[in-house]
């Protein structure tokens, strides 16, 4: 196991589009362990994508279960993930391990239907919403060479309206 170095912007490699995983072998499983260790031992985060550590394959890890009171599916290893349906739009604040000392407001789909492969190449699918859906969309962006900086909205764009009066 090894903790991998996280690429930080403006490293051009973060703009690279990643390729699909085709072989689900021991080398992939070893990498997944390293990726998990990198996420667990590094600064607190709810996800990480393979290109953030310089491996340009369509692999993301998402785990929002450390956040209190947020519906979640636990720790997800998503390989070749695809969003097959999405609904709604909501603005929330994001930061990124690859963009230190900056956070900004980003609009994302509120709920998504997701298909992916697990570590053994089996097809898995999820319906998710809110924070977990945001985390998956944030991580999947990395697979296409995008950062949350590519989706920033201005400070004045409103968050989801909730009335407490």
């Amino acid at each position: 196991m090894a903790q991998l170095e996280i690429l930080t912007f403006p490293d051009d490699r973060l703009k690279q589009v990643s390729t699909e995983v085709e072989i689900f072998d021991d080398s992939l499983h070893a990498f997944l362990k390293d990726l998990e260790e990198t996420m667990d031992e590094g600064p607190p985060s709810v996800g990480i994508a393979a290109p953030q550590v310089g491996r340009f394959e369509r692999i993301v890890l998402v785990d929002v279960s450390i956040k209190p009171k947020i519906p979640n599916h636990g720790r997800l290893i998503l390989i070749n993930p695809k969003i097959v349906a999405e609904q709604g739009q909501v603005v929330g604040r994001e930061g990124c391990l690859s963009v230190p000392d900056f956070t900004g407001n980003v609009a994302r789909a509120e709920s998504i239907e997701l298909e992916a492969k697990d570590a053994h190449g089996n097809t898995i699918s999820f319906s998710m919403e809110g924070y977990e859906a945001r985390a998956v969309q944030h991580e999947m962006d990395h697979l296409d060479g995008l950062l949350f900086l590519d989706h920033l909205v201005s400070r004045r764009d409103l968050f989801r309206r909730k009335k407490y009066k």
Binding site: P43, V46, G92, Y164
Partner: protein, 174 residues
Amino acid sequence: MKNWFMLTLIGQDRPGIVAGLTRALFENGCNLGEASMVRLGGMFTIMMMVETESDRTELITLTRPMEASTGIRVHIDEIEGALHSHIEPNYRFTVYGADQAGIVAETTETLARLRLNIINLETDVGGTDENPIYIMHIEGETKAKQEKIERALVELAKRKNIEIRVIPINTLIG
């Protein structure tokens, strides 16, 4: 040695203020940091961090031609500030209602009692001369619980007959 300065600018709004100022600073070796630039009541305003090896007097000399030709006023202070010292906000507040004296004072006093550190505050006056409405956005950081904040603000909202929304900011780091 380079020092940080805070440059404050106020002038009648027109196209080209930012370009004119920042070109002069760029050509004289200044580096720009964080900035807030906004049109307020027909005036254009700038608060901007400027890093330079020049001293305050040299920086003032740089901006003087612009002041003389356009009536813009520039003020410069040497500051202790530095980059990479962000505080992450964990609440956002939207306040609006019929314009009346005291909205900002009473709201921010309530938030100060909750030990909220304001990181960003913007206000606007909309509506008409006869019926102006006041709109305020605040982002800040406090350890206070949402329920406690809401209790304090509900009382204020009722008393002033204004709308106050509290939105927790749960920043996602991925």
